[in-house]
C-alpha cells in the first residue's frame, strides 16, 4: 500500500498548475521536434534537455517526460501520414498506418496510435510501479542463449512483414542482414566490410537506413511517377474520428501490444523495436481480417504503437532498479537524473522515493497531456496530406536530410542516406518489401552477438543453446508460429475461406 500512497503523492505534485504548464510546454516542444523525420525521441530529448536544466527537479522531470512522450508521438505521426519513420520503433507503424492514411483514414490511424499509446503507457506505468522488482529478476535471468532464442522467435515473425512473396521478403531480409555486418565487430574489435571508410566503423545507422528507404525512397518514387502518379490523396474519407468498429478492432491489440512490449522493454538487451515486430506478427495471425494487412489494417497500427509505448515504460524497470540504461533515451534520462546528483540503482527506490515516483507520475501526466493536446489536433495533422505533393515531398527531403545530418554531421552519412534512398526507390519499383531490410539490420547484429557470447562462455559447446528452459520455451513458440498456420491451412482451409467470404458481405 506504501507504493500506492507514494504514487499518489507524486501525482499530487505533478497535478499542480505550474507542473501542468511544464508538461504542456514539454509535449508541445517534443511533438514539434519529433515530427521531423530522422529525429527520434532520444535525439529530441537530447536536444531539448538543456531547456529543463533551469527548473527545479520536479518541474524538470515533468517537462522531460512531456518532451519524451511528445517526441515519441511526433515520430508516429510522420510514420503514419508521410511514411517516414523517425526511429526504428515506429517502422512497423508506417506499414499499416500509411496505407490507412492514403485511404483517407489517417484520422483513425492517428487516434488509435494516440489512445493505444496512452492505454499502454498507463498499464505499463502501473506495471512498473508494482512489478518492477519481479520483472527485473526475470529479465536478469536471460542469458545469451535465451536472447538468441528470442531473436530466433523475432526472425520467425519477420515473415509477417514480407508482403505477397516470401522470396522477395527473404531477399530484402538478407540485404538487411548483410548491412548489419558492416562495422567493428564487438567481440574481436576487427572492422568488417568498412572498405577503409572510418565512418563505416560503427556500422550503418538504423535511423539513417530507415529514413533513406522510407522517406527518400518514397519521394523518389513519387517524383518518378510524375504525372502518372495516382490522384491526390483525400485527407479524410468518412469520419476523422474512430468509428465504433475501429474501437472494437483496436482495444484488444492495445492490450496485447502492452503485454508483449512491457517485458521486452524491461530486458536489458530487448529493445523497443522487437516488441513492435512481435506485436505486428501476433495481430496479423489473430486478426479476423488478415487480408487487410498490407492494405491498412487498424490492428497493425494499434498493436505495435501500444507495444512501443509499453516497452518505453519497460526500459524504466532496469533503469530505476539497476541503473541500467538499455536504450538511447534511457541513457539520456540517466543524464537527467545525474543533474540532481543521484545515481539510479537498486538503492534509488529506497533513498529517493519522491523523485522516482515523481518521475513515474510525470510520465502518466505527460501521457494524458499528449492525448488531450493531440486528439483535437488530429484533424489538423491529416491536413498535412492536403499539401500539394511537390511541396510536401520537398519538405520531407529537406527535413530528412536535416534530421540525419543533425544526428550525425558527416558527408559520408549524407552519401549513405542518398545511396539507400536510391536502393529504396529500386526496391519499390520492383515490388520488394522495405521493412525486412531495416528489421534485418536491427536483428542480425543482435542475434549474432548473443550467439557468439553464448558459445564463448560455454567454450564452444553448442548444447548451451538449448540447455535452459527459457530458451526451449521460446524455440517451441517459434516452431508453433511456423507450424500452426500450416496445419490450420491443411485442416481447415474450408472454414477460413468461408469466414473470409462471410466477412465480405
Amino acid at each position: 500500500m506504501d507504493t500506492f500512497s507514494l504514487l499518489a503523492d507524486g501525482l499530487m505534485t505533478a497535478m499542480q498548475p505550474m507542473s501542468l504548464v511544464y508538461a504542456l510546454i514539454g509535449v508541445l516542444l517534443g511533438t514539434a521536434v519529433g515530427v521531423l523525420p530522422g529525429i527520434g525521441p532520444a535525439l529530441t530529448v537530447a536536444l531539448l534537455l538543456p531547456v529543463t536544466y533551469k527548473l527545479d527537479p520536479a518541474g524538470s522531470l515533468i517537462m522531460f517526460a512531456g518532451i519524451y512522450y511528445g517526441g515519441m508521438y511526433g515520430g508516429s505521426t510522420t510514420s503514419i501520414l508521410l511514411n517516414t519513420p523517425g526511429e526504428s520503433a515506429s517502422i512497423i507503424t508506417a506499414l499499416e498506418g500509411n496505407k490507412m492514411a492514403r485511404a483517407g483514414r489517417g484520422g483513425p490511424a492517428l487516434a488509435t496510435a494516440a489512445i493505444g499509446s496512452f492505454v499502454a503507457g498507463l498499464i505499463a506505468t502501473i506495471g512498473l510501479a508494482f512489478l518492477a522488482p519481479t520483472v527485473v529478476k526475470l529479465a536478469i535471468g536471460f542469458g545469451p542463449a535465451d536472447y538468441f532464442a528470442l531473436m530466433v522467435l523475432a526472425f520467425v515473425t519477420v515473415s509477417a512483414a514480407f508482403g505477397s512473396s516470401a522470396l522477395m521478403g527473404l531477399t530484402s531480409l538478407f540485404v538487411g542482414l548483410s548491412l548489419g555486418l558492416v562495422g567493428i565487430d564487438l567481440q574481436t574489435g576487427q572492422a568488417r566490410l568498412s572498405f577503409g571508410i572510418p565512418d563505416f566503423l560503427d556500422g550503418i545507422e538504423v535511423t539513417t537506413l530507415a529514413v533513406a528507404l522510407f522517406a527518400i525512397g518514397e519521394a523518389l518514387t513519387i517524383a518518378a511517377a510524375g504525372a502518372r502518379a495516382p490522384d491526390k490523396i483525400e485527407p479524410v474519407r468518412g469520419s476523422v474520428w474512430m468509428t465504433a468498429s475501429d474501437w472494437a478492432r483496436s482495444w484488444k491489440p492495445w492490450l496485447r501490444g502492452t503485454v508483449i512490449g512491457f517485458p521486452i522493454g524491461a530486458m536489458p538487451a530487448g529493445g523497443a523495436e522487437i516488441g513492435t515486430f512481435l506485436s505486428y506478427a501476433a495481430e496479423k495471425r489473430l486478426s479476423k481480417h488478415p487480408e487487410e494487412f498490407g492494405n491498412g489494417a487498424i490492428e497493425g497500427v494499434a498493436g505495435p504503437e501500444a507495444a512501443n509505448n509499453a516497452s518505453a515504460a519497460g526500459t524504466l524497470v532496469p533503469l530505476l532498479t539497476l541503473g541500467l540504461p538499455t536504450s538511447a533515451t534511457a541513457a539520456i534520462m540517466l543524464a537527467g537524473f545525474q543533474q540532481f546528483g543521484l545515481q539510479p540503482g537498486p538503492l534509488l527506490f529506497a533513498t529517493r522515493p519522491e523523485l522516482v515516483w515523481g518521475l513515474i507520475a510525470s510520465l502518466l501526466i505527460a501521457n494524458l497531456m499528449l492525448l488531450v493536446l493531440n486528439l483535437p489536433l488530429v484533424g489538423l495533422w491529416v491536413r498535412l496530406l492536403a499539401i500539394p505533393r511537390p511541396w510536401l515531398y520537398a519538405g520531407i527531403l529537406t527535413f530528412s536530410t536535416l534530421g540525419t545530418i543533425g544526428a550525425n554531421p558527416s558527408p559520408v552519412e549524407l552519401a549513405v542516406l542518398l545511396a539507400f534512398g536510391l536502393l529504396g526507390y529500386g526496391m519499390r519499383r520492383f515490388g520488394y518489401p522495405i521493412a525486412p531490410v531495416v528489421i534485418g539490420l536491427i536483428l542480425g547484429p543482435l542475434a549474432e552477438q548473443q550467439l557468439r557470447r553464448a558459445l564463448a562462455i560455454s567454450q564452444g559447446d553448442p548444447l548451451v543453446l538449448v540447455s535452459s528452459p527459457l530458451a526451449i520455451t521460446l524455440y517451441l513458440i517459434a516452431a508453433a508460429a511456423v507450424l500452426l498456420p500450416m496445419l490450420m491451412r491443411l485442416r481447415g482451409r474450408g472454414d477460413v475461406l468461408r469466414q473470409i467470404a462471410s466477412d465480405e458481405d
Binding site: P198, D202, P268, A328, G345
Partner: protein, 316 residues
Amino acid sequence: MKKFTLGLIAAAAIAMPAVAFAADYKILAPAAPGGGWDQTARTIQSALQDEGISGSVQVMNVPGAGGTIGLAQFANQTKGDPTQLIVGGYVMVGAILTNNAPVTLKDVTPIARLTGESEAIVVPASSDIQTLDDLIAKLKADPGAVSWAGGSAGGTDHIAVGLIAKAAGVDPTRINYIAYSGGGEALAAILGAQVTAGISGWGEFESQVKAGTLRLLAVSGDKRIEGVDAPTLTEAGIDVVLQNWRMIAAAPGLTDEQKAAVTADIKKMAESPTWQKALADKGWADTYLDGDAFAAQLDKDIAATEGVLRDIGLVK
C-alpha cells in the same frame, strides 16, 4: 565617401564578432548525446559559462568509432583556431590503435587531463570467488573457463583484463573476454551470473556493490576508492595501474601563447566551484594534470596500451 563608410561598417561588422567573442569556445564531443564524453563536454560548457570564463560555449556531437571519427574531423577542420576544443580520453587511445586510425592524438594539442575513473573487478554475490587471489588462481588453472564481461573489444575493460592476465603470468591471448555494448549491458550479465567476473568503470558497479549484489574484488587505480573496502590491484599482488581518464584538447597548430591562454582558461574552470560541485555530483574523480607532466603521462599510456593490445592480438 558613402561607399567607404559602408565598407567601414561592413568591416566592423565582420571584425566585431571576432572581438566580442574572443573567449568563446566550441567543444566537440566525439560521442553520441548521453555518454561520458558528451556529459564531460556539457559539464565543461556550463562551468565555463557559469564562471564567466567564456561568454558562449557550443557543444557539438560527432559520434563514432571510439571517438576517432570526431577526432579526425576536428584535426582536419580546426587548424590554428584557438576557440576549438575536443573532449577525449583513454578509450580514444585504444580505439586509435585498434582501428588503425589515420589521425591520432599527436594531431591535436592535448591541454589537460580532467577526470579519471578506476576500473573495478567484480563477481556476482553468489559466486564462490571471494578475493582477487581466488580469481587469479582460477585464471591460471584454465584461462578459458574464466569469462569476463566488459565493454567492447579493445576498449579500456578489455585492455585491463589483458594487463591483469599478463601480470599474473597468463597468456593474454587465451583470456575469454565477452564484449558487451556497454558497462550497463555487461552489468546485467554479471548480475545474472552468466559470466565468471565483470570489469568496467567503478561508476557502473558502485550502486550494486553498495547494495550487496556484486562483490568488489579490486580496483585498478593507484589508490583505494574512499569508503570502499577493496584493495588496488597492486596491493593484491597484480602490478597493474590503469585509469580511464578523460581530457580536453585544443586544435592543432596553436602558438605557445594560444596554448597557454587555453590552458589558463581550462585550469581556472577546473578549479572553479561549479566544476568541483559537478564532479562531486557525478562521482568523477579529479585527476587534473596539464602541461609537460600530462604530455609525458600520455606518451606512457599510449606505449603501454599498444603493448597490451599487441599481446591480446588486437593490434598487429
